[in-house]
């Protein structure tokens, strides 16, 4: 009997491994596609059938970070020889890098990328911070109409956010918040806060209130007890919530597209805007997208242990 069960268990285990592998491949396929396109020579990007083996090059990244114009005639061989290696790649493509005097003119991509970082980080920190305090309040104090209030907070997530995009746009224009970092940050906080409150409430409930009470009796104020005892215990929850909030803010496209156009524009609406007219430069777009994936991937990777425990909700206690 035991042998039979063991072999069927082994079989099940194998099936599970295969399923995980298949799922992983499916999820990784678009990422592979983006990554490989980002390193392809321009003419191979749209080849049919797709090229799998090629000599990778960083030219798309050079194009991504520089302002260029199409050249009417071929480049002077002397100028070409004097140019640094990366500029030669641009000349090879029949373009030249725009310069003011000796300084290379950068494209808008670094600015947009920085905008994304500012908006995502600030909105995540604030949404998680406010969510943590709010959740603590809901978890520890008797609040009149607590369930209703929590439901009300959640109800902000009950319609697709795009529904309010037009009124939001009009209001933002009226108060001068459109195309500003602070405008987007407020929007993303509003969007993430309900999620953050609910998730953190679950984590706070898991932390025995005896810890703080012991600290209170030991002579600490509630605030001190919160920072010394509760916050370190909630670290896992905070990390998990932060990852989710960061991903949402980082990837948000619709509002960023509507609310920003220059100064505060984030990377998601910027990258496709580079498709432009005529023949789209897929490799440059792929390079931009590839770089854009990195922060969120790194952030998630660093917090992956917390994240795993976070999504399984409350493995804080032994």
């Amino acid at each position: 009997m035991a042998a039979v069960r063991t072999s069927s268990e082994v079989a099940l285990n194998r099936i599970a491994i295969v399923a995980v592998l298949v799922a992983t491949l499916i999820f990784l396929a678009p990422i592979y596609w983006i990554a490989s396109t980002a390193f392809k020579p321009k003419e191979l990007a749209v080849s049919v059938p797709p090229t799998v083996l090629f000599q990778p090059e960083v030219t798309p990244f050079i194009r991504l970070f520089t302002k260029r114009v199409q050249m009417q005639k071929t480049v002077d061989p002397q100028v070409y020889e004097a140019a640094p290696w990366w500029e030669k790649r641009i000349y090879d493509g029949g373009e030249r890098v725009l310069k003011v005097g000796k300084d290379v003119q950068l494209s808008q991509y670094p600015d947009r990328f920085m905008n994304s970082l500012i908006v995502a980080i600030v909105s995540t920190v604030l949404a998680v911070g406010m969510g943590t305090f709010t959740a603590y309040g809901f978890s520890r104090f008797k609040i009149a109409g607590e369930a209703d209030l929590l439901f009300f907070i959640l109800s902000t997530r009950m319609l697709p956010p795009v529904v309010v995009a037009i009124p939001m746009f009009l209001m933002y224009r009226m108060v001068g918040l459109n195309d500003s970092h602070i405008g987007l940050i407020i929007l993303y906080i509003a969007f993430n806060l309900s999620f953050s409150v609910w998730l953190m409430k679950g984590f706070m409930d898991e932390i025995p209130k005896e810890y703080e009470e012991a600290a209170l009796v030991d002579g600490y104020t509630r605030m001190q007890a919160f920072f010394k005892i509760v916050l370190p215990e909630a670290a896992t929850g905070i990390a998990a919530t932060a990852v989710f909030c960061f991903i949402t803010a980082w990837n948000e496209y619709a509002f960023a597209l509507i609310m920003t156009n220059r100064r505060a524009q984030t990377a998601p609406p910027f990258i496709p805007s580079q498709i432009g007219s005529g023949l789209p430069d897929w490799t440059t777009i792929a390079a931009g997208t590839f770089l854009f994936l990195l922060p969120v991937a790194i952030f998630t990777f660093l917090l992956r242990n917390h994240l795993l425990r976070g999504v399984t909700f409350g493995a804080i206690r032994k």
Binding site: A214, V217, D218, G219, T221, Q224, P232, E233
Partner: protein
């Protein structure tokens, strides 16, 4: 060290009343045990004294001062809980130092070091000081917990079932240790438990709590031998006191299935008038088996406890337990004769359940 007094304290949680008109007086340096079943309001009483709850009505005094407006931090009490009282991310040393470091009564570093060392020595946890608390056994954790209370030299120690989560052997060992510690420190202890053996063996005084009311306060001896009502009689003692309905007829205790003569002492108890419906209470150890005894019964059950046997006797449909020496040979369904020491018998009013000795 402090004197604790609760005056007429009522505590309600919404529609649920946890404590009703509670009066409690704990003398300075006393080991007071609050005994009651789960949900009797023991923990609520502790939390009221600690300042973690506010009374709905009534007052709490510490050393004669009404502490209504004092927060938990200002009351200078120490609390030991059944579990979860250690800070999980800290080492044992950090846990012991934590109560000495709040802003309102931060001690100098040398003093902190000294006190931690002394507490660790007292509780024999010196070898654990640098260990994280999640790597401790239950007994070690509870020692550290107690250590966290004693480093403070608080005015009063509040202990909420600190031994309940431990296994029997450890519980017994720590019980003695705690009692010794209290005598060493000369501190006021309020110890909450549902375990009547703990209460009896540790308390200078015991308060029995039932449904949010103090039923009886007294020394363990008083509580055991002279219970105020049938609740205390049946709650304290293992096995509990035998309680049998009956009435008094001409100096005899007459019950449904048997009767026994009363000796002078019991007969003279005030209010013990003929015919009044009563409940007769007798401790199992005051019931004895003897060949010449007046009542015949059958052995219903025998529990062997090593030094003694607990024999359940059956008379008609009445059951009665007797504690007899282990060497007494009894077999199930064997006919035996028994009597009891009627000087030790307690008579309770049938209606109110209150002992006649207490109503007078």
């Amino acid at each position: 060290m402090a004197h604790i007094e609760l005056k007429n304290v009522t505590k309600k949680f919404g529609s649920h009343t946890a404590l009703t008109g509670l009066n409690l007086d704990i003398a300075d340096g006393e080991f007071f045990v609050l005994l009651g079943e789960t949900g009797a309001g023991k923990t609520t009483t502790l939390r009221l004294i600690a300042g973690l709850e506010k009374p709905t009505e009534g007052q709490v005094f510490i050393d004669g001062v009404d502490v209504a407006d004092w927060g938990a931090a200002e009351r200078d009490v120490a609390l030991v809980l059944q579990q979860y009282s250690l800070y999980p991310r800290y080492t044992v040393r950090e846990n012991l130092e934590f109560p000495l470091k709040p802003k309102i009564r931060r001690l100098p570093d040398a003093e902190i070091k000294d006190r931690v060392a002394r507490a660790a020595r007292t509780l024999r946890i010196e070898h654990l000081l640098d260990r994280k608390t999640d790597r401790l056994s239950g007994g070690e954790m509870q020692r550290v917990s107690i250590g966290r209370a004693i480093v403070r030299k608080p005015r009063v120690f509040l202990m909420d079932e600190p031994l309940s989560a431990l296994d029997a052997k450890l519980r017994e060992a720590l019980r003695t240790e705690l009692k010794n510690l209290q005598m060493q420190l000369g501190a006021t202890f309020l110890f909450v438990t549902h375990d009547q053996i703990e209460a009896m063996s540790m308390g200078d005084k015991v308060g029995v709590l039932n449904h949010g009311r103090i039923v009886q306060t007294g020394t363990p001896h008083e509580i055991y031998n002279n219970p105020r009502d049938t609740y205390v009689a049946s709650f304290v003692g293992s096995p509990p006191m035998n309680l049998i309905d009956g009435r008094l007829v001409e100096n005899r205790a007459v019950m449904a299935n048997f009767e026994l003569p009363l000796s002078g002492g019991a007969a003279r108890t005030g209010g013990a008038t003929d015919g009044r419906p009563l409940v007769f209470g007798i401790r199992p150890e005051d019931v004895y088996l003897e060949s010449g005894a007046p009542v015949e019964a059958r052995v219903h059950d025998v529990e062997n406890h090593g030094v003694e046997k607990i024999v359940t006797l059956r008379v008609g449909d009445a059951m009665l337990r007797a504690t007899v020496p282990a060497r007494t040979a009894v077999e199930i369904e064997q006919p035996v004769r028994f009597a009891w020491n009627s000087d030790k018998m307690v008579m309770f009013d049938k209606g109110s359940g209150v002992s006649l000795r207490h109503t007078g």
